[in-house]
Symmetry: C2
């Protein structure tokens, strides 16, 4: 087997390249599809232009941050606090995380018009284009992720001849770069999309009484740009980070458990198997012409499940071959995979209008907006119980099957593997997730271009299907964030040990306790900052849209064109300004807590942020999702239908849910990992100077 081990990193690298080639092929074939009418082409171009303009400026802003951090890390490397690879690893992590979002958005902005055009011919045609663009995103994220991990691994091992411990240490910095970029992208994009959405709705739907995506609404292009920069580019960077984070944190745990190169390679190889399984899975997604929505959903599910089964079989073979003495860790991989599926199912249960909770929530609209808000928050809070139990069981299974009862470190390696197992088939789960915003955009374009109602109905069906599959995607994102953050905390303690820091992680240690308090508070503070940012940015849009309605003569009659670009510009400026503070919180908090409370305080903070952030993120995602679908349920004709008092109440719920589910909730997922990454990178400083002489 030594032969295989020697070539394994290159096999992994090869699989990454295959993913990238396959996604490029899909990219080209989507781009070749016809874009539709002239009007559709024009609108599509506007959205693309706005989205690209945003991204360029976002990268500039983030570039400054990366430059500053790079210099700081360089200084720390020169003064001996960090190894020399760290600053460069940090940069590449950020670069590729941003690139994932960029490519995903590029294809999404090509696919939106083409999906709308496809939907003119039929539901299935629309689905295929949208799903193909989703799979470009999915395979780009996993392809780039594994490309970078394996490339770094190969460079450090074969060129610099580093030992496995040093390799993993350098690679964790790579993760910090990816997390930082992801946080900026998620927060900035999340603020953009929701500010535009809320702003457009408040003036357009509520005040002017025109439908969503009506071309008379000056914010409608900004709204559609937002879907791309937030839901696509933000999500791409986010999941790139989760994916890479789970692989490298698991690798770091392997070194802690003394499992050497084999242990480090296993997560990479599982990811490689997952990529191949995902590509195979995409071929299962296709239906006969004239299929109904249920059949479409079945087709998407078939793809996901096929990939999962293939991935499980491949992982089994791999583990039994590479880790014969530890072959039980196979169950860790399976438990992660299952936990992801189950959390996804319960996310769907709580947020889809096919099930009781959301239907009942729609019923709360009978007594007005206050009761639908109360019940929606309660629903979100209640929905946190099952995922916590699932994660708990998954940790128990993976810890003990990996031999935790006799060896602590091996058990934790099992937990790391379960996170990798959960994300192994990200290529396809992300595809089913990323296709949602494309369908959403296609609907907007259909509306704005005045396509017949049946086209809009078809894109709505695709969109609603997207909401269901997105629920599964969210399950994986949230679950893997928890497990990855957990693995990173353990990596941190391991790092402290190698640095010679003194650990007393007992919960009764005051430093740990205070750290727990601070950590539990951080996701709340962070969410508050992001929500307020959305509010402020939306306010600016409201004022601008009102101004345009007042000053542009003939706009409401459809005789004059709105000034879309100004709205896009306002969203861009304010979201870039507003993303700084929350992102800074994620980077500064671990350093300040470290300096004040020392290393044990940092661990407390990480654990506190992990558990409270996990619960808060689920609550916000599910409350928001349920409100959204409760509104759709009413629009479908229940509880007096569209335009009724019930509907108005549900719109309030949906508006409150917007920043919950698309800005604050998903950003908290990144925050909990970024906190760990930053702690790891700055560990040597904290060990040397932290604790104020008290702790």
């Amino acid at each position: 087997m030594t032969n295989f081990i020697d070539i394994a990193p290159f096999v992994v690298f090869g699989c990454a390249v295959i993913a990238l080639i396959f996604s490029m092929y899909q990219f080209v074939s989507v781009k070749r599809k016809p874009e539709g009418t002239d009007q559709m082409i024009a609108i599509g171009a506007k959205i693309r232009k706005g989205a690209m303009a945003y991204l360029k400026r976002q990268y500039k802003t983030v570039g400054i941050f990366f430059a500053v951090m790079f210099v700081i890390l360089l200084i720390l490397a020169f003064t001996g606090f960090l190894t020399k690879f760290v600053p460069f690893a940090f940069l590449t992590g950020g670069f590729f995380s941003g690139l994932s979002g960029f490519i995903g958005m590029k294809i999404a902005t090509y696919a939106n018009t083409r999906t709308a055009n496809g939907a003119r011919e039929g539901l299935n045609k629309g689905l295929k284009i949208a799903f193909a663009s989703g799979s470009v995103m999915g395979l780009t994220v996993v392809g780039l992720g594994l490309f970078d991990v394996s490339a770094w691994f190969i460079i450090l091992k074969y060129f610099f001849k580093l030992g496995v411990d040093d390799i993993m240490a350098a690679m964790l910095t790579f993760g910090m770069g990816a997390s930082s970029m992801a946080l900026f992208a998620r927060v900035g994009g999340g603020i953009f999309t929701k500010a535009a959405d809320v702003g457009a709705d408040l003036v357009g739907k509520v005040e002017a009484g025109i439908p969503e995506d009506d071309p008379r609404n000056p914010a409608c292009i900004a709204d559609n740009v937002g879907d791309n920069v937030g839901d696509v580019a933000g999500m791409g960077a986010d999941l790139y980070e989760s994916y890479v984070g789970s692989i490298i944190s698991c690798g770091a745990l392997a070194t802690a458990a003394g499992l050497g190169f084999n242990g480090v390679l296993v997560p990479m190889l599982i990811a490689a198997i997952g990529i191949i399984a995902s590509i195979v899975g995409t071929f299962f997604v296709s239906t006969k012409e004239g299929a109904d929505q249920k059949a479409l959903l079945g087709s998407l599910r078939r793809g996901t499940y096929a990939s999962a089964i293939l991935s499980a079989i491949g992982s089994a073979v791999l583990i039994f071959t590479l880790l014969p003495e530890n072959s039980n860790v196979f169950w860790a991989v399976i438990s992660g995979l299952l936990a992801g599926v189950l959390i996804g199912f319960f996310t769907e249960y709580y947020t889809s209008d096919s099930y009781k909770p959301t239907q009942k929530l729609a019923g709360s609209s009978e007594t007005g907006s206050a009761t639908i808000i109360i019940d929606g928050i309660a629903l979100g809070m209640q929905s946190t119980a099952i995922p916590v139990i699932i994660i708990g069981i998954s940790v128990i299974v993976s810890y003990f099957t990996a031999g935790g009862a006799s060896d602590f470190a091996s058990g934790l390696y099992g937990v790391g593997l379960s996170a990798v197992g959960m994300l192994a088939t990200l290529g396809i789960t992300l595809a089913t997730d990323a296709y949602g915003p494309v369908a959403d955009n296609a609907g907007g374009i259909a509306e704005m271009s005045g396509l017949p109602g049946e086209v809009r109905n078809r894109t709505d069906a695709l969109d609603s299907l997207g909401n269901t599959t997105a629920a599964t995607g969210k399950g994986f994102a949230i679950g893997s964030a928890a497990l990855t953050a957990l693995a990173l905390i353990v990596s941190y303690t391991d790092k402290i040990k190698t640095l010679g820091g003194e650990l007393n992680l007992s919960i009764t240690n005051p430093a740990v306790l205070i750290g727990l308090f601070v950590g539990a508070m951080l996701p709340f503070l962070f969410s508050a900052l992001t929500m307020k940012a959305v509010g402020r940015a939306a306010q600016k849009i409201v004022i601008e849209v009102r101004r345009q309605f007042k000053e542009i003569k003939g706009l409401m009659e459809g005789k004059a064109e709105a000034d879309y670009a100004t709205c896009v510009d306002i969203c861009t400026k304010s979201s870039l300004k507003e993303m700084i503070l929350p992102a800074a919180l994620g980077i500064i908090a671990p350093i300040v807590v470290g300096l004040v409370l020392g290393v044990n305080g940092v661990v407390g903070m990480l654990a506190g942020a992990l558990v409270s952030g996990f619960v808060l993120a689920i609550m916000m995602a599910n409350s928001g999702g349920a409100w959204d679908n409760a509104k759709k349920f009413i629009e479908a004709g229940h509880y007096n239908g569209k335009g009724s008092e019930n509907h108005k109440a549900a719109v309030v719920g949906d508006t409150v849910g917007d920043p919950f589910k698309d800005t604050s909730g998903p950003s908290v997922n990144i925050l909990i990992k970024l906190l760990s990454m930053v702690s790891i990178v700055f560990a040597s400083i904290v060990v040397a100077y932290g604790g104020m002489g008290l702790f």
Copy 2:
């Protein structure tokens, strides 16, 4: 000094009796005041009757629970798992906690009409009656609390000749009884009051367009009954539990630190000093006739601050005499006192309409109810940061001044003392808090009896003053809950050690980690259950009120009387039914977690619930308080004033905030302590059978 130590328990007992006598004197003097017009007397009687009927049935329901628990504890005592005092201590704790609420409510239901009547003559007259009734409540709670603690101490020490360790062990069960009762009272009363409030508002104000407290509204008596059973009886039981909990948990920490009788007596004596200081403080509360609201607030503050200073001086003398080698713990007491004041100040800052945050929140009403909800939630989330930092600093100061650097247990004793310091002057802080609901009720009675508008204006001024002082009270309640729960967690670990259980409390221990996850989730699940309960109960009221408006001829014209009793009855029945599940969660969770994850998992759960519950409770309290006052700010004429679209949006915020601030938020405070108490009582079972053989 040995002489003083011998008589000290009796001195403490004597101070408790003084408090009770003083409060009885106040009780009688309030009762002697005239009640006003016949109509006022009739309405007052109805409220009193409804409130008493509720309490009686609540005690019956809770009685069944206590009987069952008593039998279980008795069996455990007979089988050797618990000492024989435990079942009886449990019963008395519950009994006295309930009694505190009962007496507080009794006086509140006498004082409400008398306050309204006093307000007919002038603001100051009304204040005096309301404050006197508040001080009955305050001194009853602290009097009964210290009475019980010292009586048990005396009985166990002098009659049963127990050692100090056994005494404290028995007394912790006493705390579990008090916590259980408090949870039932808070949850049941909280559901009652908010169901009636929300139900009355939704149909009365929104649908029928009649003012709050209009006698034509069939739910108006239920609404006023709710203020008494929730805000008064519930709060009484709640703070009784906090007060007693802080004293006995600190005593338990003293035994852990090997400080013997002196160490145990110090918290009791500090409490005794606080009682005397509180009584003296009440005499500082009085103003000249014709004083404005600012002067009234100044007068209340003078009382509180005078008590705090007196209490600090007394504690200094005490500690320097009794613990000369540990005299630095004085700073722990001071840090607790200061932390309480500071948290109270920031609670006020975030929720009072004299400050920016709430004024800005009122401004969000410009763009409708969705934005005021988003901003209110963000405000609540943001407001968690400062209290966390204050608690953190307070823990650091009290831990290290008490000698934590060299001796872990002594440091934790300091933390316990800071909780006692924070609650020492509860007698007066609770008085300023409890007078609020009385003023609120007085306003209702003024409205229902058709008293002139100026009387209502005066009671409104008193009410609004009450909101401000209540903020300070809440600061103490939340802060002390955190410190007390913290002390209880440490007591739990100590108990496990004496039982011979194996502790590995490292955060990286999977049992601890999973426990943290489960613990962090519990306050969310608990809040969801209580919020949904409010929703369901309110729904029933809505249906009933609608029915009465439809079926009782002449009701809207004021010619027929509404059937108030049925609304009270519905609230009673549904709140008693709905309180079972959340309360059961608090008792069952620690046992289940203990059996599955073992003792380390329990500690993780307790810590997780503490930190996430603390943050969540602050968020809910402050969001709710800010919405309430933003509405009042608009009603005072800002942002287009009463009846405007802004006002409607603010009413939605206020309605959402109701269960946040008066049901779920305060109940979470009790939950985090009850979880610890239950864990301690069932520790021996968990040590023997917990962990599934894995942990």
